[in-house]
Symmetry: C2
Subunit: 176 residues, 2 copies
Amino acid sequence: MKTRVENEFQSERELFEEHIRKSGLRRTSQRDLILDIFLRTEDHLTMEDLYWLVQKEDPSVGQTTVYRTLKLLTEAGLAREVRFGDGKTYYEHHYNHEHHDHLICTECGKVIEFFSPEIEHLQDLTAAEYGFRLTNHSLRMWGICQDCQRSIEEPHQTATGAQPKVRPRSVPGGQF
Amino acid sequence: MKTRVENEFQSERELFEEHIRKSGLRRTSQRDLILDIFLRTEDHLTMEDLYWLVQKEDPSVGQTTVYRTLKLLTEAGLAREVRFGDGKTYYEHHYNHEHHDHLICTECGKVIEFFSPEIEHLQDLTAAEYGFRLTNHSLRMWGICQDCQRSIEEPHQTATGAQPKVRPRSVPGGQF
DNA sequence: TTGATTGCAAAGCATTTGCATGCTA
DNA sequence: TAGCATGCAAATGCTTTGCAATCAA
């Protein structure tokens, strides 16, 4: 009998395999490893984040492969690209994760995911008004989170003292 | 008596001058020229677009100055940075232009500006829900415009046959 | 006169591409 | 075996920075 862990991301792996097969691509140990590490990391990851995690398990994997595999995961519908304004591309789980938008703290870099059916609905209405057939959309809101409002002099750090994922960067008028 | 054209962007110029003065900066002919050309171009401009327009009137101005001046205009509240997904930064008028969001056609690159008070309101509510003090936000929706839906085989070109400003680029999962 | 500004070239940074080698199907 | 995948290095594209010369206040 298979353990929980072995089964956990079975559907994702199958989806990936199917995408590989249908596109006439090849399954490789690097792709398997990168997918596995991506799946078990519930967070917003840059190529570099993922690269270092992969390095720990197989130092022979190159950055290019991580870049290319993240693109592949995106095409397969397993990952989604997001940008928070620090110039980097982040990837988040997409499969079986319902669509959501992001609130980004410009002080500590914290990212909150939220979902508003009302906003989604209004977006559809607006698109229809202009005759657009929507393929996707992105709503990001920047501001100062509750913790950082309390201590503006001393920006909020995570409980563990870990560095924030998204390095805040001054966002002048600000749209990144 | 001053002509219409001479007066048209007087408030913008004054705002710029005030920003320059308050920041201990200096007024230069390059900055004046770049501001003028920016103001009289009602469109989404990249640094390069603006650079070439400036070149026509003064070939001695360098790209770096255009970059730096666009940053300056943004800080002064005259310009706003936007990204539509083709990897470039666009600048649009900000002063006296009420906030709006963008609909981008991924076929022909057309950009439509829209404003939805209802969406804005819901954004504020959502931010409040998470205790965020919002500083800014960005909503972009990608899809296929009416014209391009009619002729998918032959993507819509502008009436003048001009190239679209935003060069469409495949947006896989797509968030740029 | 002083220090901000400019233009050039060089550097940065994230990402992509060319190519010889390696490996899946 | 064919041709996709990999890893390296080099190239790319946009943007920023260092610096000597120039110019506004």
